[in-house]
């Protein structure tokens, strides 16, 4: 009887001990946990939420990287396209320049021709020979009275040499021939023994040559049309 009572008392004491231990632990936890901050959410819920967001973030990040890569590719493409179009543009400009479809300027000479009073007027042939000689000497751009000489240009006498038409336009004296090219080559092509200028001068026409460092030659004003070239 006495022994049973002691066991009973010890058991209840141990029970109390365990109970209060756990209670104190719980008090500590409740005290130190900021319940409002996590808004009644359980830690597991928060964990799963966090994991969800992480996967979402990863996915979106992957997408973002993919798109960035694509943009990079497109940019590269654009760059190469740009380069290509630049090249084409340059080519076009060069072609236009060669065709005489652009205003050009550079060093060269200006030849002014005026017919003498008592002799037959300067004919288209004279001009043709002159232009031919200049081209032979390496002229890069030629114009007569601001009519640009291009590959379709015609220089013809109209009404038995009463006037000259260039590019279908009637031109009148004095004839101002502007040439861009090496100055000395140009000059020597038309002057000197056998030169056209020399010849015209001996025939009694007035012909002067001026050198210029910045001669401006206007572009061809008409349109180049082709009907039969396929």
């Amino acid at each position: 009887m006495k022994k049973g009572k002691i066991t009973m008392i010890i058991t209840i004491g141990i029970a109390c001990f365990a109970l209060v231990t756990v209670m104190m632990m719980q008090f500590k936890v409740v005290n130190e946990t900021d319940i409002t901050a996590i808004e009644n959410m359980q830690e597991t819920e928060l964990k799963t939420e966090l994991a969800n967001w992480k996967t979402k973030y990863d996915e979106i990040n992957a997408q973002y990287e993919e798109i960035t890569q694509k943009i990079e590719e497109y940019k590269n493409d654009e760059k190469s396209n740009n380069e290509a179009s630049k090249l084409v543009q340059e080519e076009l400009e060069q072609t236009n320049t060669l065709l005489g479809l652009t205003d050009v300027h550079g060093e060269g000479i200006v030849i002014t021709l005026k017919s003498g009073e008592d002799v037959t007027a300067i004919s288209a042939d004279d001009l043709l020979i002159m232009v031919n000689a200049l081209k032979f000497a390496g002229a890069e751009a030629i114009s007569i009275n601001d009519e640009r000489i291009i590959n379709t240009t015609d220089i013809v006498d109209i009404l038995d040499g009463s006037f000259i038409k260039i590019n279908g336009q009637r031109i009148l004296e004095p004839y101002v021939i502007k040439v861009i090219g090496n100055q000395s080559h140009m000059e020597s092509a038309v002057t000197g023994n056998g030169g056209k200028v020399q010849e015209l001068q001996t025939l009694g026409h007035t012909a002067t040559i001026e050198k210029g460092d910045d001669i401006k030659i206007e572009k061809y004003n008409g349109e180049i049309e082709t009907k039969y070239i396929e």
Partner: protein
């Protein structure tokens, strides 16, 4: 005697509980329900001691069994999204009040008995005194 045991257990428990490392907040709700269950068992134990029908096996199995059952119910409730632990708390607290009532009744009765006895003893003493007085008077006569 039993109160000394309870007091020592509480003090030791408090000291140990305050020095134990923190547990995760996740288990806080399970721990709380376990505490209620254990508290109920302890009160039940004290009540049974008073009623003189204390059984060690029943006490220990109740102490742990109730706590574990309460925790399991709480887990189940969380899985089902039903607050089952509320029902457990209601039952435990109700039983706690019952046991407390039994303990209270026992001590109140004990105390009132004590008071009654004391007054009875006083009365009997007075009567004895009176009798003695009477005897003394008679002798004197």
């Amino acid at each position: 005697m039993i109160f000394i045991a309870i007091l020592i257990g509480c003090i030791l428990g408090a000291i140990l509980g305050l020095n134990v490392p923190m547990i995760s907040y996740t288990y806080s709700s399970y721990l709380a329900i376990a505490i209620i269950a254990a508290l109920d068992s302890v009160f039940g134990g004290i009540a049974s001691v008073i009623k003189k029908n204390f059984d060690l096996k029943i006490f220990i199995s109740g102490f742990f069994g109730n706590a574990i059952l309460a925790i399991l119910l709480t887990i189940l409730g969380q899985k089902l999204n039903v607050d089952i632990y509320l029902a457990a708390i209601v039952v435990f607290v109700w039983r706690m009040f019952m046991n407390l009532g039994a303990i209270r009744r026992y001590y109140v009765e004990k105390w009132s008995d004590m008071v009654k006895n004391r007054t009875f003893q006083k009365k009997s003493k007075e009567e004895k005194d009176k009798e003695q007085d009477k005897e003394y008077d008679q002798e004197m006569k």
